[in-house]
Symmetry: C2
Subunit: 242 residues, 2 copies
DNA sequence: ACCTGAACACCGTTCAAGT
DNA sequence: ACCTGAACACCGTTCAAGT
């Protein structure tokens, strides 16, 4: 046959099928779909069109993957301007944080069960610390208050996520749940649990965010009292002994 | 052979090898030994001299077993007298609670990952609610404050337990850990994380209980401020908008 | 360098079968 | 009634082998 200028199709330079970033992105998406209990190395691999053993070329083990997912979640929270009174600044930051956790399923559980490594997570903590420090408290108090604020955001959301997982596992519908709760508290003998009935009536209102913000307000009010006391102004009341 | 009065050894009336209570007791003990991640139906069964499938005659599934363990843990916290000022009463209760969680490994994680069913757990919540209500706040505020106090106790301890599990899995000694932390924070660039270095210096002091009690104090100071505000007295400061 | 196949050492749970 | 044997349907992880 005579010459025909038929160029070899230049093969794409054999890009790897997957890389670390794609693994993390797919894992984050899969987490949102199936939740933490459904997030499996095997399932994740199949979503990437690959076998599970391949994942270990890009990630040391599942724990490392979870840390990377946690950092990706932290990256979803928007930055907050710093030119505000400290309390508004803290609250704005927490609102962003809280909202970003609600955006994908079981996000808070991943944060709760994973140590705070990763640049994005550290940046958020750094920003929160800065805002709390602006209250005028000592660095030590700011560090501790920061821990508790962060802990409240994460553990509150994680608690709700775990409750959702339990009711789902039990196959209870949302409507059923309320009825069951009422039946349960009615069952409690009044003399064994004198307070619980009235508590159940008030706890867990229709707006779950309200009790979250109530807790944040308690912490921040407490911090203000702490600052005032440290300044030598009359404390709200003397501390109870430990 | 002539007659010999050989009584048949009267067989013990075939008591079941295990019952529900023994399963729970063994599970609690095993939890303390091997931690939550090592608590396996198979291992538990072997401790009871029985096969794993036998456990399902006494317990519906592992989740139910965890609920029962959680209730047994709650039973370990001593009751607290009620004839004290409300704040001391709350603190005494939390101290008992906190101490009982530290008595057995991963106790807090079990509480955190398990819904609060069971008489013992409910009794503790009931008692705490009673103490908080004595502050003079509304039932709604008491219910919410109660949630956050309980949540702080459990999630703080669970956080420490998880951290211990991570460092153990990574095979890091206690001494190594401190060194690594220091090396890690030194690594952080100061302009990317302007606050973190100073924060790391103050966070997580030698006494981990101190930061726990700092958080409790914030919540209780906040509650006092809330009560004062509700009484129409001048609030500590106006609330920041949400 | 990257992915696959096959295996290892586990899980929780079910169920027919034994006593 | 209670326990066992054997299986089912999974896990995370490793590693020699392929390309």
């Amino acid at each position: 046959m005579s010459f025909v200028p038929f160029a070899e199709r230049e093969r794409p330079p054999k890009r790897p099928a997957i890389d670390r970033d794609r693994v993390v992105a797919a894992a984050l998406a899969l987490l949102g779909e199936v939740g933490l209990d459904g997030l499996t190395m095997r399932l994740l691999a199949s979503r990437l069109g690959v076998k599970a053993s391949s994942l270990y070329r890009h990630v040391e083990h599942k724990d490392e993957l979870l840390i990377l997912i946690a950092d990706a979640i932290a990256a979803m929270a928007a930055d907050v301007p710093t030119d505000m009174p400290w309390r508004e600044r803290v609250i704005a930051q927490l609102r962003e944080y809280h909202a970003s956790l609600r955006r994908i399923r079981d996000a808070a559980r991943v944060l709760a069960e994973t140590p705070p490594a990763g640049r994005n997570r550290l940046k958020k903590i750094d920003a929160l610390f800065g805002a709390v420090l602006a209250s005028g408290c000592s660095p030590k108090a700011a560090a501790d208050a920061c821990y508790h604020l962060n802990n409240l955001v994460v553990s509150y959301a994680a608690d709700q996520e775990r409750a959702a997982a339990w009711t789902e596992r039990a196959g209870i519908s949302e409507a059923d749940l309320a009825e069951r709760k009422r039946a349960f508290t009615r069952m409690l003998s009044v003399d064994e649990f004198p307070n619980l009935a009235v508590m159940a009536e008030f706890a867990g209102s229709n707006d779950p965010d309200a009790v979250f913000w109530f807790g944040i307000d308690l912490l921040l009010d407490g911090l203000e009292a702490h600052v005032a006391a440290a300044r030598g102004e009359p404390a709200v009341e003397s501390r109870a002994p430990r």
